[in-house]
Symmetry: C2
Subunit: 124 residues, 2 copies
């Protein structure tokens, strides 16, 4: 498998397992769909195939999202964050993003939380 | 410091450092602002004070976002993901979210990537 472009590879700050975090967002609605992990090979595949590809920590293998479920993610844009340890992947999601069948992995409802409001703002 | 509510604490799947990931999103625009980490105490503070609070891995201490910079994050909603290792924190961001002064930590421009398109869709 070819390598990542060297200047990009040099910007990555991988964790002890050689991974960076991937936040996955539906490109048009802005919904956050899921969080996953990428090694260099997964990022390279994501950037060159148009299909979001991750590193499965449980299976210890590359995981082309939707390869078995059909719930594929088509890459629209990829951005690296300021310290190089997280990518934001904007995708077009086919079907549900979550393995539970939910549209996103965050569909279980909000946790009870105190709502904070910036000084001078009103409820909306 | 009081503990997390026990049924919530039981849902968390912490990493080896006792942390869960936090994806932070502007509540109204859907912009993903940053990625950070929380231990139980940070999550508890986030849920009970209305101010997004993280665990600083570099300083090894609780970090009330904006406490020194003034770039505070006011909590609007918190959701736990399907496997309990990531929270989505929707906030109202005061000022820039990124320590570089950028509005988000993903403002450095897209990485060159092949754009994928689901079968039957057209460019948009």
């Amino acid at each position: 498998m070819p390598d990542l472009e060297p200047t990009l590879a040099a910007r990555l700050r991988r964790n002890d397992d050689g991974l960076i975090a991937a936040v996955v967002q539906q490109h048009d609605t802005g919904q956050v769909l899921m969080m996953a992990w990428m090694n260099d090979a997964a990022l390279h595949e994501t950037l060159t195939t148009g299909r979001a590809t991750y590193w499965s920590r449980s299976r210890q293998e590359l995981w082309v999202k939707g390869e078995t479920s059909g719930h594929r993610q088509w890459v629209r844009e990829v951005r690296l964050d300021c310290d190089g340890d997280t990518v934001l992947v904007k995708v077009e999601q086919e079907g549900p993003a979550c393995h539970t069948g939910s549209h996103t992995c965050f569909d279980d409802g909000p946790i009870e939380a105190v709502v904070g409001r910036a000084p001078g703002t009103t409820a909306r």
